[in-house]
């Protein structure tokens, strides 16, 4: 019998692509022969928009990249401008940045865990994660006034101090968080059907992960110990005691499970940061009009998806000459086409979901 392959379009409008993302699949029956990823549907030209804004005015646009962890996107950008201008950020501001940044990481991982559960077919896990993410968003809303696009970081510090009502609410949340993580582990991670769907599926060997420039939980799930917060501590991360969870097999299951472990570690960091929160100013002394000297700077932070870098070039005016963002989700997608080959359609969803991409950041 003579058979032939056929082409199937997955996306751009597909719930499990978590945004608008298209994969052109060449299929032999149910098996993927070749896959082609087509990003770009959410491209807004943020880098270009930044060139027509003053330095502080770029901050709200960074929110709109990884909108699930906006605080971390803010951080990457302001870190680059601060490096360019040689601004020393006050300690209290650094601690506040760590607290809100880790909260943002928790919120982002909760979305990753929850949506992965629903991708595999477990709706309850999705609702539990979103229920708890709501509590993180409430906390960040108290601080910044917004629920998703915070625009809370400023060049040289943060916009506002933490409000008094923030601390008891945070304390309660941190107290509950371990038991909530146990709940996800019991409901999703320990589920045999879930394990059968994800274990040894979409394996990324460590050397391949490194060669393709993967970062974040996707890299660490392959067993490579690389977390900027540990290997090249920025801000005040060298003062906190936390572990970097690692995976063993680099399969979908590891990529999923590592995120729950990271949530637990983030809670540890926040606890230490709140306990050690120093008094002092929350803004460095910066000029009213931000006008960095001619030059360029590149700064990196560990976002929830991987290494988020920002490259800023200044021509000495009030507007950046060029801004470029190294977006982890985009680079993590690089290996997707190869990774999908040989797997079935249902596994395509499982593999894509396990990479935890955010299309706002992929397309920028």
């Amino acid at each position: 019998m003579r058979t032939q392959t056929y082409i199937l379009n997955m996306g751009p409008q597909h719930p499990s692509t978590h945004g608008v993302f298209r994969i052109i699949l060449e299929l032999d029956g149910e098996v993927v022969v070749k896959a082609k990823a087509v990003p770009g549907y959410l491209h807004r030209g943020i880098e270009k928009l930044a060139e027509l804004r003053t330095y502080p005015q770029v901050i709200p646009y960074t929110d709109r990249m990884d909108y699930l962890a906006s605080m971390l996107m803010n951080w990457g950008y302001v870190a680059a401008v601060e490096k360019l201008m040689g601004i020393e950020v006050p300690e209290r501001a650094e601690y506040i940045r760590v607290i809100v940044g880790e909260l943002s990481r928790i919120a982002s991982h909760l979305v990753a865990v929850g949506t992965y559960s629903v991708d595999i077919g477990g709706f309850t896990g999705f609702l539990y994660c979103f229920r708890d993410r709501e509590r993180v968003l409430d906390l960040l809303e108290m601080v910044s006034g917004s629920r998703m696009t915070f625009s809370y970081f400023r060049i040289g510090g943060v916009a506002d101090d933490l409000p008094p009502e923030f601390f008891p609410t945070l304390d309660k949340f941190l107290h509950d968080l371990p038991s909530l993580c146990d709940e996800y582990d019991g409901l999703i991670t320990g589920n045999e059907i879930f394990q059968a769907r994800t274990k040894f599926v979409g394996i990324i060997p460590p050397d391949v992960a490194v060669n393709y420039g993967l970062t974040g939980p996707n890299l660490r799930a392959s067993g490579v110990l690389y977390d900027l917060r540990k290997v090249r501590p920025y801000s005040v991360y060298d003062r906190f005691d936390f572990e970097v969870p690692l995976g063993k097999n680099g399969d979908c299951f590891d990529r999923f499970a590592i995120r729950i472990k990271e949530i637990r570690q983030s809670a540890r960091i926040i606890r230490q940061a709140v306990d050690g929160l120093p008094e002092g100013p929350i803004m460095a002394k910066v000029p009213r009009v931000i006008k960095p000297p001619k030059g360029e700077a590149y700064a990196e932070i560990e976002s929830s998806k991987g290494v988020f870098g920002c490259y800023v070039v200044s021509d000495g005016s009030t507007q950046p000459y060029r801004v470029h963002f190294r977006r982890p989700s985009f680079i993590n997608l690089g290996y997707l086409e190869k990774l999908l080959e040989g797997w079935k359609i249902a596994d395509v969803i499982a593999i894509l979901g396990s990479l935890d991409i955010v299309l706002g950041e992929v397309d920028c």
Binding site: T124, E165, G186, N191
Partner: protein, 161 residues
């Protein structure tokens, strides 16, 4: 034993069935908003000195204002926010050092037509002279159509959150 994980999951969902509800019946019941919430804007016309700092802080050129020179002072005649382009980043509110522009807790800004979205906070003709004594009252009395401003009732009629 295979299936243990499934049973554990079931136990968790059973436990959750008997815990307190986390949802509220939204339009009737509402959760309180935090003090810093970014809702609709309000402008205290009497405090505003028409300096334009808010407009120049805005990344999206949302704020359009017109002013007239009355005597020696700048008089704000028009203050329109093109809310459809607003990102609610709060840079404008932060830039205002007269505490004239503020966020309210009004969340309902929906309009059926796009041109109605625009938020007209001030639209009034300039007076001939500004009486030095009672600057708070005089413009109010003379303005043909006092809009919004201090009262916080923007152009959007049914926009109360």
């Amino acid at each position: 034993m295979f299936g243990q994980g499934l049973l554990k999951g079931l136990a968790i969902t059973w436990k959750e069935l008997f815990t307190r509800k986390v949802t509220v019946q939204y339009p009737e019941e509402r959760l309180p908003l935090p003090a810093r919430f970014h809702g609709r804007f309000e402008l205290d016309v009497d405090k505003c000195i028409a300096c334009g700092l808010c407009a120049s802080a805005c990344p999206n050129k949302v704020i359009q204002m017109e002013r007239a020179k009355v005597g020696k002072r700048q008089y704000l005649t028009k203050y329109v926010m093109r809310i459809e382009y607003c990102m609610f980043c709060g840079f404008c509110v932060e830039a205002c050092n007269k505490d004239a522009l503020r966020f309210t807790h009004i969340i309902n800004m929906n309009q059926y037509f796009r041109d109605k979205v625009r938020l007209v906070l001030v639209d009034r003709p300039a007076p001939e002279v500004i009486p030095e004594e009672e600057p708070a009252e005089a413009p109010e009395g003379r303005a043909a159509k006092p809009k919004a401003g201090a009262a916080g009732k923007g152009k959007a009629p049914e926009g109360e959150g």
